[in-house]
Amino acid sequence: MAEANAAALAPGVRSRLGRAVVYALLAGFAAFYLAPLVVVALNSVRTAQDIGATSVIGWPRALALDNFSRAWGSYCIAQSCAGIAPYMWNSFLLVVPATIISTLLGALNGYSIALWRFRGDNWVFGLVTLGVFLPEQMKLIPWVLVLRELGLTNSIGGLVLIHVVQGISFTTLFCRNYYVAIPPELLKAARIDGAGYFRIFWRIVLPLSPPILIVTVIWQFTHIWNEFLYGVTFTSGTQQPVTAALIALSVSVSEAPQYGVQSAAVLLAALPTLLVYLFGGKYFLRGLTAGAVK
């Protein structure tokens, strides 16, 4: 009887043990992954003396919240002492139009490719989405030439153009894959009702699109906001987006390293994408799986 009990108990114990191991491993990986963020977050509220006295790894002795206000409005980056605020503004001027334009163009492309079959449509789709797989570095030189020809070097407008053009590959891919699930009879009905290409897009397809548009907007927003290579290559000085300015901020330090202010600046610069994920994350997941189950 006792033996039977032990035998019955063993699988339960084993599975509970296995679960504990899995959770311990996951917690370990999570801690490892989050460690840099924790260090930056802790340093953002420590004074320079505090960090200098111990090391960059340590608990804050007192909360130095003025790091944030200095990083935002008065810290000196490359001879200009206005903090990261102007560069944040640059990033917004870049991200908002680039995201909106690339998303709309992607929706229009996806609509054309998915719902208006034409000769060679699959080739067009293949060529457009090829852009997804091309590395950024490969496109640097061509963009230098294009921006110079257009007179857009060292301007936010130039960066907007780059991100719109490069974003079309992703946005077209997303939207086309969403729109192929729209029943073709809907378009037939609209054509008989007398609606043309743009009216069908505007009145029938676009109202069906919020799930995929949210996905594309989140994707484009975070991608363009976090983009660094083009920002640092094509702009300088007051035209830089915040990702490029953060580098300038860390190399311009001549006196004692201001790790506290720099950490605060990093957190401030990361805030918009974090907020986008916090508020849009559930739509993002929902949109990615929409159409998968019909």
């Binding site: 029943p183 009879e185 037939k188 009905a189 054509r191 009702d193 007398g194 609606a195 009145r203 029938i204």
Partner: protein, 371 residues
């Protein structure tokens, strides 16, 4: 003037020829049903009439105007789809007015038209709802409303009832038929359901393998099918078709299972003997199950309109309204429909009356009707 003329329409998708020269003409106010098994080309033909597909050859004429090159919106047609194709983000009212909106009809006129159509279809209470909030039958009505509100030259229906459950399908079938009678418009209706075709059509075009097999009124299609395909496709259960031999002179007789001990001899009431050239030849004999009933049933007043025979019973299926009997005639399996209270014993022999006036004869080689 014909409401619709389809002349020599051909269509090919890649290597597959889906329409092999279709000719159909519909008079004003007719209810034409295109019926056939799936893949017979009936929906493609309807799409060509609508202008959603282009034919490779041939032309389409609506109310005397050749419209082969005219886009769908300018053909003055309305269409109801199998999936209803209601615009999901619009209310019922917006769904119904979208066509008028595209055509720039004044708002006041739109409102009047919606009110009239909603009253006709009894969907007034649904106007502010969205398609997702409607039942299947309600969606069907809204799809009808979207077509009706336009008052077009031609209504096109693409299997509009096949997504409904059986009970609702019968109700909507009757409603569409009543509607047709009330508004008197020309309608072209695609279905794979031969009962819908029989009950609704003024004329049926039976399609198979991209060709019209027969284009005639329902009684002719049912009683005098042009070929074996039509005979076997229309009717549930379908027409019995068995091999037989034509013998005799002035009074021809069809022999089923000739030479067997249980051979069946059916005298045919054909005026002036067998069709020329068919004496003493093999034919395919077709007879509807309802033309075989229990002995004693009277099929007509005139003499010789029926004959009585004895056949072994293999199975019975009581459906409530009738009993379907599977028997052997000269060795061939044949279905008969007897009165519901008649239950012949399975395994035994029973006597049946056969309405010989309803026998059709087909050429076994070409499968065409010969008499």
């Amino acid at each position: 003037m014909s409401a619709l003329v389809i002349r020599g329409v051909r269509k090919r998708f890649g290597a597959q020829e889906v329409l092999k020269g279709i000719d159909i003409e519909a008079g004003s106010g007719e209810f034409i049903v295109l019926v056939g098994p799936s893949g017979c080309g009936k929906s493609t033909l309807l799409n060509i009439v609508a202008g959603l597909e282009q034919p490779d050859a041939g032309e389409v004429e609506i109310a005397g105007r050749v419209v082969t090159q005219v886009p769908p919106k300018d053909r003055d047609i309305a269409m109801v789809f199998q999936s209803y194709a209601l615009y999901p983000t619009m209310t019922v009212r917006q769904n119904i007015t979208f066509g008028m909106e595209c055509r720039g009809v004044p708002k006041r006129q739109q409102a009047e038209a919606v009110a009239r159509t909603a009253r006709l279809l009894q969907i007034e209470a649904l106007l502010e709802r969205r398609p997702s909030q409607l039942s299947g039958g309600q969606r069907q009505r809204v799809a009808m409303g979207r077509a009706l509100v336009r008052d077009p030259l031609l209504f096109l229906f693409d299997e509009p009832l096949s997504n409904l459950d059986a009970k609702l399908r019968v109700e909507m079938r009757m409603e569409i038929k009543q509607l047709h009678r009330r508004i008197g418009a020309t309608m072209v209706y695609v279905t794979h359901d031969q009962i819908e075709a029989m009950t609704m059509a003024t004329r049926i075009a039976v399609m198979h393998q991209g060709a019209v097999q027969q284009f005639a009124d329902p009684d002719t299609v049912y009683n005098r099918p042009a070929n074996l395909f039509v005979a076997r496709f229309m009717g549930a259960p379908p027409m019995n078709t068995v091999a037989a031999r034509l013998v005799g002179g002035e009074r021809p007789v069809a022999v089923i299972g000739a030479g067997r001990p249980d051979e069946i001899r059916l005298p045919l009431p054909l005026q002036g003997g067998p069709p020329p050239g068919w004496r003493d030849r093999e034919v395919v004999l077709g007879i509807r199950p309802e033309a075989i009933a229990e002995a004693g049933r009277r099929f007509g007043e005139e003499a010789g309109s029926f004959s009585t025979l004895e056949a072994p019973v293999e199975m019975t299926e009581p459906t409530g309204a009738e009993t379907i009997v599977m028997m052997r005639l000269g060795g061939e399996p044949v279905l008969g429909r007897v009165a519901p209270d008649v239950r012949p014993a399975v395994g035994g022999a029973a006597r049946f009356a056969v309405d010989t006036r309803r026998i059709c004869l087909f050429d076994p080689a070409t499968e065409q009707l010969i008499a």
